[in-house]
């Protein structure tokens, strides 16, 4: 898959388009998009636990737009600090908060204000007090060095314009021995320059 943008891709336009699309997903998750959303998709396509999803607020699960399932890569550990990069409406983040228990902490980071607000509201509704959401960017995480036991991310880092910077940020915030449970899309074939410059495909 492409690891950095073509030189002449309009990265500002790409960021604006990403913000716009995910603000629409937050406001109207049942609208027309070229990717799946919601708890039925998560359970059927990505093997999430339906019972665990049913315990979360509908507002959060309806806007879920992940592409794989970081929760299937082993336990997080009771009391762990988990960071979710691009937490969206908070479905993965709330599942993480439940898995680490009251002594643990789940910190979500999202660059879309509408999504961050939705995640905070859902966490309040679910009564989860070990969770916070910070506005921020995967290319410059609002977190201290070596502060996380586990970093998760679901369908977000493929949207960044320089993967090496984003991966470096994950490495920086993880403690020694910390795990990166990374859910994303990969491309098996080499892409043409035209496809790599297509904003619609980057944001899909």
């Amino acid at each position: 898959m492409a690891m950095s943008c073509p030189v002449d891709l309009d990265t500002r336009r790409l960021r604006d388009e990403i913000r716009s699309i995910y603000a629409r997903v937050a406001a109207e998750p049942s609208g027309e998009f070229h990717f799946h959303r919601g708890p039925d998709y998560a359970a059927e396509f990505l093997r999430y636990d339906r019972a665990a999803l049913a315990e979360l607020p509908d507002e959060s699960t309806a806007s879920f737009a992940g592409v794989a399932n970081p929760h299937r890569m082993g336990p997080f550990g009771e009391g762990a600090v988990v960071v979710d990069i691009g937490c969206g409406a908070g479905m993965d983040l709330m599942l993480a908060a439940k898995r680490v228990g009251p002594r643990g902490r789940a910190i979500g980071v999202d660059m879309t204000e509408a999504m961050a607000d939705k995640a905070r509201a859902s966490a309040r509704e679910a009564g989860l007090e070990n969770l916070e959401v910070r506005l921020g960017d995967a290319m410059s995480l609002p977190l201290d060095d070596a502060s996380a036991d586990v970093v998760i991310s679901n369908g977000v880092l493929n949207l960044t314009t320089d993967k090496s910077v984003a991966y470096g940020e994950v490495f920086r915030v993880l403690k020694a021995g910390g795990r990166f449970l990374y859910a994303d899309i990969v491309v098996a074939s080499e892409l043409s320059e035209g496809i790599r410059k297509d904003i619609d495909l980057w944001t899909g």
Binding site: H36, N69, D184
Partner: protein, 44 residues
């Protein structure tokens, strides 16, 4: 690239047919686009 920033034990653990049934299914199949779970660890 994960290895280049210092991660170890990098491994694709699982694949998902993420775009099945979407308007992008044809292009996803053409280029082999799938969802993946990837594990990586920062050294001790």
């Amino acid at each position: 690239m994960l290895g280049q920033v210092g991660f170890r034990a990098v491994e694709v653990r699982e694949r998902f047919d993420t775009f099945r049934g979407t308007s992008k299914e044809r292009i996803a199949r053409k280029y082999g686009v799938v969802g993946v779970n990837v594990f990586a660890q920062k050294p001790q």
